[in-house]
Amino acid sequence: MSRLSEFLSPESLWGRLDDPSENAGYEEHPPRKGFFTDTSVCIGCKACEVACKEWNQVPDDGYLLTGMSYDNTQQLGASTWRHVAFIEQPVGAPSTGAPPTDLGMPGSKPPGWEREVTLGEDLVDGDPQGAASGDSGVRWLMSSDVCKHCTHAACLDVCPTGSLFRTEFGTVVVQEDICNGCGYCVPACPYGVIDQRKPDGRAFKCTLCYDRLKEGQTPACAQACPTESIQFGDLDELRERADARVEQLHDQGVDVARLYGADPDDGVGGDGAFFLLLDEPEVYGLPPDPVVTTRDLGSMWRHVGAGALALAGLGAASFLGRRR
């Protein structure tokens, strides 16, 4: 899947790239496919998680009550290709008059607790995932995360075997039979998506249902989503739809609505799977400003080269001078 031309053209490393499939060498190819996940209508039913596992025959990921609200899957990984996050946030003054209680959720206070979410009354005006409630409110954000199918996919770039490749749909897929378990893709992904699975260490992640796409079908997760929180389609069209949705929410007074990963000029050249969020990305466990590592690839190799030369120089220099 790799070719020298890919390396040589700078836009294949980072920055805006409108047609990654073409860049990967597909001459004729369908329009780029992706997901727009509108978390404002997510009801946290996890149908997406289950549908993904059913369709792709992903094994279970262990049985652990985490105490992280209703999230017992915790994160994306080799055996979790869709992950629904649950974020409980207090809104306004607590009804008991008592000071906020640390709920003792593992790791940290519940997200948002550090900071008073200043939504209060306007919740009634339609914060999509926080109903006004009693004297004070609580907001429960739910969001289904997935591989971003980055325009510049670090996982793919660093894969030494070509096991990860760009499909004709512009998505990023692992070929199970080629992966050698080197694990390089794992730390390369700026979103912490892909991971290796025991026992043989091969890497797995969302394939954007490559098999279904080839049959002209909708990915299993989107198909199962009852509220159309997960919308599948041509990326261009999805981006338009997303812009319209944000505008609509802003009109309804939901100022907190924002898109994440929709900008083709961002650090990864835009995500194939992007999101509408109601809070900062990090609240959902997403990096606020991810950058594909290959942005600095040129610099890296230059420095490696310079380092090698310096070492060679040092080696030679060591033989200069007095003989002893």
Partner: protein, 880 residues
């Protein structure tokens, strides 16, 4: 369900719709996208609340007070949809002068018999018309005789009771006459004025006292409802078991109906009260019932003392106004479908083959019968009562006392191996070797391994084809019962005993495929019904009382119209209009919204352009619109039935409630509701709160089950200071047999847990994520605890109420095992439908529960401290 998208406001109360009905919830989200206001009233902030505009935390079991407050708001501010109310409801009817309400009688209605705990509804009836015709006089006489009989003889009393609460069908109870009406609504005894007086107590302050809901929030909800009702706008309600599972459950729903009728939201697009039914075909299992007291199509089960003949059986309903008046045709056609040619006019169409009702045979009474040794054998088919029914211990003790038990299931459920894995084995209360029950476990085919129809929440039948053959010995229900029946029939063949005739005469001739599976479509055909020529009928109006038609369930007549399985239609909604009438088939007559004549004004024109649905087309002289009109299609709006008209002929042009015998929506129920003609707030049988509304603490009509294994926590007990309520999680299904056994679902909610507020956690020293023990007089269970702001501490005046939330899915088998919350739940039942209460009181403590016999001692100690006497286990004492 899809119609929710047309609502301008949706109030979800008593259901966690997003979690328990995620697929149907898409229509709520669609409505919201279109600008509807969504309100969720629930003790907990749930996934439904999260996407609602307003969440109102409420104390479990106090919904009548809250809804009553809304009714009061509407009535005292004249916010009702007056034109609708006058024309379409019984607001104008004048009620008998003997009627007295709870204001007069300290919380009781007139007609209460403290000895039996039952009401005689005679004083709730409509004031007779000034001039009775002969027939009406006759009915009046009978009614009085019946009432007198009830007041004397014991046996008669029993079936009288049954006659009231357990045996009327979809027509509701028949009233004797349309009664005297005052359309100015001024008569002091008219329903409207009674209603006003009755609900005047439900002030915002009272609501706060009862529910912990501040007046401000009540006002917010009231405003949302009233501004979104009327000619131009409609509000829909959705509820499920957060309402039904109470000793006052039926009345909670009644209160909502009253509110919706007052606001003019019934029979109109985006309106109505949507009962979100549970299991895949639970609607189907009431239409073609698995219940003891009704027959298919809600025909009442004949009573042992009252119904010696077909005539006696149908007489109460026959000839009444409305379609229910044709009951004889439905009944005869049903008998014909059972017994075919054997059913003749001469033998009363085999009416005598039908079993007769002798009293209450609801599930919990049956369990009590098991414990007492009266019930010897039991079939469990697709049910796991050891986990799913209230007071699990009672269930297990009952089953351990049987001679035989047949379990047909997909999984080795807790109800099938309670004799070795049950909690009572651990405590030593049951000993495996001493249990005499012979248990037969038979593997069942699952839904993809057999064909058949589901009837879901909106009365829609959807056909499902068989995808794969069942593995091994697994059999479908159809094959099993046909096989079982035929084997019994073979054994009885040649018998001359009269008793065996009903079985031997059964008209069973279903074609069987090469695997021995009877053809499910043939069954649907039989249910649909056939005419004299053997061809499928297309509407229940074609049914005849002379035995020339046969029909297995009159309301399903038409599902096989034109010989086509209409339930199999799968035209996507985006390829048809909004009503999507070509997806599946909805009873009756593929009608999507019931009583939709009410979507037009009395004169037959739509109430508004925006809400137009079904209307009178004067040019054509017919009702028309996007749905199948729920009316006599050519009955003009100004039609006044002739005196003495019967059945459908008696429906007036402005009587949209065509199944009610008076054609009106009932604000006040003159008969048919066991615990009063109007809803009144009573406390759950276990409660930390004194009933703020009436001196009467509990529903006086509730059904109690006094047995030592069902002790009740005393109310206001310091020992059991907290309220608990039970519910579901999206990730699991009911008793968990179909979810705790599957890795993909189990990993999403891998352990039993409970939810408490931070305030309660502080009060009891509970730590997030740790084990806690929850105790009632029944037993104690353990779970991990989530401390969360989603559980609200409620302030009722001076009193704080804390609620413990308990998802009820766990039992001792499966991948994820745990104590079963139902072991905590007491059995006290709603008198109308015999359903248990899902709430109770409890204590909660940090740490795991004691094991083995120590558990018994631990609970004993609690009982002692609370003053619970196992020999007198009822909740006596709280009724004042």
């Amino acid at each position: 369900m899809q119609d929710l998208q047309n609502a301008d406001c949706i109030l979800i109360e008593g259901s966690n719709m997003a979690e328990a009905h995620p697929v149907g919830f898409q229509w709520v989200m669609e409505a919201k996208r279109r600008g509807a206001t969504v309100i969720h009233v629930d003790p907990r902030f749930t996934r439904t609340s999260a996407v609602s505009d307003l969440h109102v935390p409420i104390r479990a079991g106090s919904d009548i007070a809250f809804l009553g407050g809304l009714v009061n708001h509407v009535l005292s501010n004249d916010l009702d949809f007056r034109e609708y109310v006058v024309a379409y409801t019984n607001a104008a009817n004048v009620i008998d002068a003997d009627y007295q309400g709870p204001d007069d009688l300290d919380g009781l209605f007139s007609g209460f018999d403290p000895e039996t705990g039952q009401y005689d509804p005679i004083s709730w009836r409509y004031e007779p018309p000034e001039e009775m015709n002969e027939e009406e006089r006759q009915r009046d006489r009978e009614l009085r005789e019946e009432a007198d009989a009830a007041a004397t003889g014991d046996d008669a009393k029993r079936s009288h009771q049954a006659a009231r609460s357990e045996s009327h069908g979809s027509g509701g109870a028949p009233v004797n006459w349309k009664g005297l009406r005052d359309e100015t609504l001024q008569h002091p005894r008219c329903v409207f004025q009674i209603l006003k007086r009755h609900f005047a107590r439900y002030t915002p302050e009272m609501v706060e006292q009862a529910c912990g809901i501040r007046p401000e929030q009540l006002r917010q909800v009231a405003e949302a409802l009233t501004t979104n009702s009327g000619r131009e706008r409609t509000t829909a309600f959705a509820y499920a078991v957060g309402w039904t599972h109470h000793s006052t459950g039926a009345q909670m729903i009644r209160t909502a109906s009253i509110l919706q009728l007052l606001l003019g939201n019934i029979g109109r697009p985006g309106g109505g009260i949507l009962a979100l039914r549970g299991h895949a075909s639970i609607q189907g299992s009431t239409d073609i019932p698995t219940l003891f007291n009704i027959l298919p199509g809600y025909l009442p089960m004949p009573l042992a003392d009252h119904h010696q003949s077909l005539d006696e059986w149908v007489r109460a309903d026959e000839g009444k106004a409305g379609f229910w008046g044709n009951i004889r045709s439905y009944a005869v056609s049903l008998l014909k479908s059972y017994w075919g040619d054997a059913a003749t006019p001469e033998n009363d169409f085999c009416f005598d083959y039908l079993p007769r009702l002798t009293g209450d045979h609801s599930t919990y009474s049956t369990v009590k019968g098991q414990i007492e040794g009266r019930v010897k054998g039991y079939f469990l088919v697709g049910e796991n009562p050891a986990v799913g029914s209230a007071n699990g211990k009672m269930q297990r003790l009952g089953m351990a006392n049987l001679d035989w038990l047949v379990v047909r299931d997909l999984q080795m459920i807790e109800s099938a191996d309670f004799w070795k894995n049950g909690p009572e084995i651990e405590t030593g209360e049951l000993v495996t070797e001493e249990i005499g029950t012979e248990v037969f476990f038979l593997p069942a085919a699952n839904h993809v391994e057999k064909a058949g129809s589901f009837t879901q929440t909106q009365r829609m039948l959807q056909w499902r084809d068989q995808a794969v053959q069942p593995p091994g010995d697994c059999q479908s229900e159809l094959e099993f019962y046909v096989d079982l029946g035929n084997r019994i029939r073979e054994k009885l063949a040649g018998s001359t005993d009269e008793m065996d005739r009903p079985l031997l005469d059964l008209a069973w001739d279903y074609p069987v495929d090469e695997h021995g599976e009877p053809d499910a479509e043939a069954v649907l055909r039989e249910i649909n019904g056939t005419g004299p020529d053997g061809a499928p009928l297309s509407s229940y109006t074609e049914l005849k009382a002379d035995g020339s038609t046969s029909c297995g369930c009159w309301i399903y007549c038409g599902v096989f119209a034109d010989g086509v399985n209409q339930a199999r239609r799968r035209k996507p909604h985006w390829e048809q209009d909004q009503v999507a009438s070509e997806w599946g088939w909805v009873w009756p007559a593929n009608r999507r919204i019931l009583y939709n004549r009410a979507s037009a004004a009395p004169d037959g024109t739509p109430w508004s352009e925006r809400k137009r649905y079904v209307w009178w087309d004067a040019g054509q002289g017919r009702w028309t619109g996007s749905d199948v009109p729920d009316f006599v299609v050519d009955r003009a709006p100004d039609h006044v039935p002739e005196d003495g008209a019967k059945g459908p002929d008696a429906i007036g042009g402005q009587d949209p409630f065509v199944m009610q015998t008076d054609g009106k929506g009932w604000l006040f129920a003159p008969v048919g509701v066991a615990d009063g003609p109007l809803p009144a707030h009573y406390e759950p049988p276990e409660s930390p709160v004194h009933n703020p509304v009436y001196a009467q603490q509990n529903n006086p009509g509730r059904k109690q089950l006094s047995t030592p294994s069902n002790p009740i926590n005393p109310s206001f007990s310091e020992v059991f200071p907290y309220v608990f309520t039970t519910y579901r999680l999206t990730e699991h299904h009911t008793t968990g047999a179909m979810s705790r056994t599957l890795p993909y679902l189990t990993e999403l909610q891998p352990e039993p847990f409970c939810e408490v507020s931070p305030r309660l956690a502080a009060e009891r020293g509970l730590e997030h994520g740790q084990w806690v023990t929850i105790v009632t007089a029944r037993t104690a269970i353990e779970a991990r605890v989530l401390v969360t702001e989603r559980l609200r501490s409620l302030r009722l005046g001076e009193q704080w109420v804390e609620q413990v939330g308990l998802p009820y899915h766990w039992g001792v088998n499966g991948i994820s095992k745990g104590d079963s919350p139902n072991d905590l739940v007491n059995v006290t039942m709603d008198p109308n439908v015999s359903i248990q209460d899902k709430v109770g009181t409890c204590d909660i403590r940090p740490g795991r529960r004691p094991r083995g016999a120590d558990l018994t001692a631990y609970v004993d100690d609690y009982r002692r401290r609370a003053g619970v006497d196992l020999d007198h286990p009822t909740d006596g004492g709280t009724d004042t």
